[in-house]
Every structure is written in C-alpha cells, then in structure tokens.
C-alpha cells in the first residue's frame, strides 16, 4: 500500500486557483486577449475553473479550449501507448495571449509538446504557463509563469489529483511508492 500524504485539501485548492486567477489577470492588462487552454487530460478541468474565476475578475467571457499534445510528444516509440483526446480551441490564437494550464509540471516535455502544438494552430503573441503543482525534475529549460504550489519530490513519488469533475475529492496527494 503506497503512503499517501495530503498536500492540498479542497479549501486550499480553491484558494490556490483563486490566487492564480488573480495573478493571471494582474499580469495581463489586456484581458480581452486571454485564451485559456487546458492540456489534455489533467489540465482541462483546471482550465475551466481558472477561466470561470477569471471571468468574474475581468467581467467578460474568457475563451477556453483544450489541447491534446499526443501528436507532438517525443516518446511515441519508447514506452508510450497514445490515448488521443479532442483538441478544441474556440478562437484563433494568433495575436492572443494563450495561458496553458496543466495539473503537474514535471519533466517539462508535455509543455514543450504543447508549445509545438500551439505553433501549428497559429502565432500567439505570448504563451504563459499555469500549473497547479510544480514538482521539479525538469529535463528541459521550461519554467511556469503561475504556480499553485512548488513541492520538492523524489522521482519515484507521484503527485495525484482527482477533481470533482472526474468524480474525485478535489484533493492533491503525494504518493510514496
């Protein structure tokens, strides 16, 4: 049985997302240019929650989309079985500020793939990265603009988050295997 530590309870998760939404609004004066894009699959529900909060802060609708990065990954022929989910971006991203949202920032390879995928959909004016948990162990020179919580982890550990939208408990756990 793996050891499970709570690193963020539901109340903390909500406060964290609220703070991140304010930071995104603070950093982007032109809130009309923001498009929030959740990376499949962990970032999708977080993106829509952040967008809902941003809409309250900015007072207007924020376009929200999903991005699947499977076609842009670099580990297809090693140990990886693709599970492709829809990519749906509601507006042209050219000239816009795309806020990429993911649950956990780890090696940075998903983010690298996501930036390549965005590049094929248009030319955003700026891409920013928002992650709920930064667990370290980067393998690429990638850094998040908005971080919910930074947690030093061991490689063998696992950060587990299940949101209510996925029939989870809105709690972030650290699993020691």
């Amino acid at each position: 049985m793996p050891e499970r530590l709570i690193i963020m309870n539901p109340a903390a998760l909500q406060r964290t997302l609220s703070r991140m939404a304010h930071e995104i609004a603070e950093k982007n004066d032109a809130s009309n240019d923001i498009i929030v894009v959740g990376v499949q699959r962990g970032g999708v529900h977080l993106a829509s929650r952040l967008a809902t909060q941003l809409e309250q802060i900015c007072g207007h609708p924020i376009p929200t989309g999903t991005l699947d990065v499977n076609f842009y990954r670099d580990d297809l022929d090693t140990n990886y079985t693709p599970n492709v989910q829809p990519t749906q971006i509601p507006a042209d991203i050219t000239g816009k500020v795309v806020v990429l949202v993911d649950d956990v920032l780890f090696s940075g390879r998903t983010t690298r793939a996501a930036m390549d995928a965005l590049k094929d959909l248009g030319r955003p004016r700026r891409i920013q990265l928002a992650v709920l948990v930064d667990r370290g162990h980067r393998e690429l020179p990638i850094k998040a603009d908005f971080v919910g919580k930074s947690i030093p982890t061991a490689r063998a550990e696992n950060v587990d988050l299940k949101l209510k939208e996925d029939q989870g408990d809105d709690t972030v756990y650290l699993e020691r295997i």
Binding site: D77, Y80, N83, T87, D116, V131
Partner: protein
Amino acid sequence: MSWNKPHLLDIESLTADEITTVLDTATAFKAVGERAIKKVPALRGKTVVNFFVEPSTRTRISFELAAQRLSADVINFSAEASSLKKGETLKDTARNLEALNADIIIIRHSATGAPHFLSRFLKSSVVNAGDGAHEHPTQALLDTFTIREKKGKVAGLNVTILGDILYSRVARSNIWSLLKLGANVTLCGPSTLVPKVFEKMGCKVTWNLEEAIRDADVVNLLRIQHERQRKAMFPNIGEYTSLFGINKTRFKNMKPDVLIMHPGPINRGVEIDSQVADCDQSVILQQVTNGLAVRMAVLFLVSGGKGPQEVAAPTA
C-alpha cells in the same frame, strides 16, 4: 481506449474497444486535416514503405499522404517495377525493405494472408492494405468511422452491403467491424456472389433487393470486381444493373435519411446512378476524406510503444 498492437493485419482479430480507439484517434486527425497546417511531427524520422504488389491508386495515395502528414518519409514500391518480376520471393523482398530500416511496411497483395506472413518474421510494423479477397481493414475502419460520424452511433443500425460480396475483402472487413460494434448487417446481391455461407459470420443474406434496402440506415455499394472473377457469375452487366443497381426509383423507397456509401471507384450507370451518387445522402467523397484520417490514426497507433500506460503517460 486501448491499442497495443504493432501491426494491423485484419479486423477479425480486433476487439470492439480497439476499433473504437482507432475511430477516436482518427477524429483527432480529421481535425488536423482541416487546419491551415495539416502536418504533425508524430512520425518524424520514421520510414514508411508502400509495398503494393497488387496495383492500387487511391489506397496507395491515401496511405502516402497519411504518412506525409505524420512527417514520415515514404517510399513507394510497386510490383511492376520490382525485383519480384525478376524472380525474388516475397519474403526476400520484404527482408530487403526491412534491411533499409523501414519502420512500417504497408502491403497490398493478391494472396490472402500475405501481411500475416510478413508480420511473422519482420521487425517492422505491417499494415494490411488489402490481401486477396480476405480483408481490407483500413477501408472497413473508414466506412465505420463515416457511419459513426454521420449517424452518431453504429450499434443497432441496419447496414446493407450490396453487390459482389464473394470476391470482396471490403465486405469481409466491413462485416467484422460492423458486427463487433453491434450493427445489424444484411448482405445482398446475385446469389452466385452472395452465398448463404456468410450467415455463419452473423449477418443476414438476402437476394431480394427491395427487402435489403427497405429498412436500411446505410447502404454500402460494392463494385463488381471483374478482375477477380474467373468465370461469369451473372449473365451480364445490364442484368445486374436492372436487378441490383441503385437508381432513383429504388432510392425513393429507402429511408429518407439513408446513407449511400461506396468504396470507389464507382461505375456510374452500373451499380449506382449518377443522381444517387451525387445526392445529399451520398457520402462517397467524405469516405475519401475520412480514409486519410483513419490511415493517419492507424500509422500512428502501430508506432506506439508497447509499455503500460501508467509508465507511459507522465502527467508532466
């Protein structure tokens, strides 16, 4: 979603879940085909060989474009210009292709089981692009994709496959795919080309066209494969057309939302009239578009690693 196979040899050995995985992946690739930049880097640096021992234009072009849109390098290899003509065996030719480090070999061959044979000794992935009268899996997958896209589901639909069933690999692959996903399949055509033995696969066989098309949600028309018929299976083309050709009158007796499908090439005035081929219910050209997406999905999935998904899909 699940796919752990290095090859696509036939539909018969696939599970419903694997078929659905291909269709779902193809949905994502169809969206890629509609963007300004229609190419993704998924198979960058991979080599795909189109090994067509039996002539083909549309399937080969579709596979070629699919491979290119995945950023793979493609070589076309046809029997006429090959050393098969000089007496080399199929096995030796395939081993030569493998020696060039081909990652995927797409094979069409007039002999049933040729792709299965290659898959037993090649390290490369093998994709069946049609083997004799046995199977044509990507055609069935694109037909099933088109039905699901247009009707929103496959289970419970009445699908009629009409024409030359006996010699048709398209029919066999379609029957497997549709039955696995829960459709009701009816086969119809001249009794010489639609033997009762097909009932053993789990479909209905009728030689009465009116009965076959009355309740059909989908009618998939097959071309008469003259090149495969060693003896005359019906008196003449005119009789086939008058008994089984889909004309305006017969079309009117079908369900108003029936889908008319055809794997091509169509013979206007033989199995289908122009008015029907070009009507709104006809999805013949959409099948071509979907074929590209489905073949991209197949090439992508057979290239995937075989490890467990947990190891494989790190969240960051």
